[in-house]
Symmetry: C2
Subunit: 340 residues, 2 copies
């Protein structure tokens, strides 16, 4: 009947050429230790010669799980996630699993839809961003029957495993540092306003409230995606709105760099008249003039750990620490080094 016209090599052909049955070839490829060395070697040679590559669709269909590991992130373009991905790929390179990426575009509904698509593939593992899944998404993940790791943040009620840090505490450390350095009118610039940004804002507010320095007028947020250009614009707005500002805590480093550039254009001296602090510690903030203080986060490590946790889960190894807080590190630089 139907015949696949293409000349692809199949397991049966390898089996015939090696003088064994299909299942033995299948085993030789997946669990070499259960096949006799002689057969294993013959099969290896034939596979090599004929250039056999297994059909993942067929094995996915025949087994209870596919070799797909799904990664659900809000944006491929964002530097922060790019670093996490680099970490994931670095570990996965040597493995037999396929990574499948999906973008939720910061939408909980889209996340839910994408999750259903992932689950239709019976994935070997899942990595999802953040801790603010919808109830429906959480249910889907509980039922997923594969290791699930939430990344970027830590929080209560992990679905399965978690690796991240506290954005609230990171922001508190940054703002406390600025207060310590003598800044009194500290503004907050935020873009995109995803849940992690919101928690950084909360951290900022908690410190300023504790010092009786909280002022609504110093908080500037926008749903737009953060860019250096946007940092320039927000700071320009801020100067109009609250010219007495003497420091800015930026939701991320792109904004912070923009603030620095705009301040320089306005001849506002940093750090004397204006302190600046970013978030994430992207490589650029170390080399600007002046260099910019930031909260270092361990994004690549987060990716590596997350995928290792998934792999351990797949292997059935007990995961010693299901929730890992990677912390953060305040890197104080010239942009907040006000003297006197």
């Amino acid at each position: 009947m139907k015949k696949r016209g293409d000349g692809r090599i199949t397991l049966d052909e390898i089996a015939a050429a090696a003088g064994v049955s299909a299942i033995t070839v299948s085993r030789a490829l997946r669990k070499p230790e259960v096949v006799s060395p002689a057969a294993r070697e013959r099969i290896r040679i034939v596979v090599e010669e004929l250039g056999y590559v297994p059909d993942p669709a067929a094995s996915a269909l025949a087994s209870p799980r596919s070799d797909v590991i799904g990664v659900l992130i809000p944006s491929v373009t964002n530097n922060v996630f790019a670093d996490v991905l680099r970490g994931i790929y670095s570990v996965l390179e040597a493995e037999r699993f396929r990574l499948q990426l999906a973008n939720s575009r910061y939408s909980t509904l889209e996340e839910e839809r994408l999750l259903r698509i992932f689950l239709s593939q019976r994935p070997a593992g899942l990595i999802v961003s953040g801790i603010d899944q919808s109830e429906a998404s959480r249910k889907l993940l509980f039922r997923a029957d594969c290791p699930v790791v939430q990344i970027m943040e830590t929080g209560p009620d992990p679905i399965d495993m978690m690796v991240g840090f506290s954005h609230y505490e990171g922001a508190r450390a940054a703002v406390s540092h600025m207060v310590d350095r003598g800044y009194r009118r500290i503004a907050f610039l935020g873009a995109r306003m995803d849940p992690r940004t919101q928690r950084r804002l909360k951290g900022y507010e908690s410190v300023l409230r504790a010092h009786g320095m909280h002022d609504e007028r110093l908080i500037l947020c926008t749903p737009r995606a953060s860019t250096v250009q946007l940092g320039c614009e927000l700071f320009a707005d801020l100067c109009d709105r609250a010219p007495e500002v003497d420091a800015v805590f930026c939701n991320n480093d792109d904004l912070a760099v923009g603030v620095l550039f705009e301040a320089q254009r306005r001849r506002i001296s940093v750090p004397q008249s204006l302190g600046i602090c970013g978030f994430n510690d992207l490589e650029i903030v170390a080399v600007t003039n002046p260099s910019i203080t930031s909260v270092r986060t361990f994004r690549e490590d987060m990716g590596r750990r997350a995928i290792r946790m998934v792999l351990a889960g797949i292997a059935g190894k007990p995961v010693e620490e299901p929730v890992v807080d990677l912390g953060f590190e305040l890197i104080a630089r010239e942009s907040t080094a006000r003297t006197g």
Copy 2:
């Protein structure tokens, strides 16, 4: 015998619930127009109610092609590819295809290996980066039996379709501009040295040779990945090696920003004593002080076009233009605005 323990809904269950046969449900989902409106509606409701999601492995196995579109890029982390990906995703969002990414890490051999893995899935389409595939890879792609688009560059002998621009000409435009502005000792800073960087270097050399201004000492290349920090370091090296340099053409914008920062630390005035030009026109170069001249490339558009070409190919539509040169645009800014 074997039973999948999981309670996943299958086509047969939908068929039973809707009072039709499985194949009718399959058709209703893929080609609604061949199914009667009544049946279609009943099926739609049942699918909705039961939350049926087709198993992609089963359909891949049963049909000659899967719904996978493979994208092979050298690096996920690189801004440039991130922009291309954004373009691809923006078009693909509405489509039924799944994107699968793979990283060749700038290795031709790795590219070949990844290509074999892609082909094992009988992909619906492929997007590959550059025009320097190995002979083996080219053969694989010719046999792929699906639309193939090469992106990032244009050149002779397309495998199937192509969308990109000439890096050689882009570099020529940049360097010619610097010569026009009166710079005479123009250096080249290059990182990573992939084939596209090499061609930019060739473009640079061709212009300087034509003006009798070529000088080996002004060319500084490294295999390291480009960062702002690296731009700082390379420029520092350059100053030691050839202090008479009066302009720098950077292989990309990260390096150019680093050169600007390092020049400022050294109190070298830009553009008076030093001209700077980058490549790609990332958003940051428009807002530095001074702003940086760059060669704008249309990366997101490239991604959009590439995926549209793939989709057109899948649909069997004739592709009007199989090779598209998107060109580039020199954006002259303050960093090369030398007066007198």
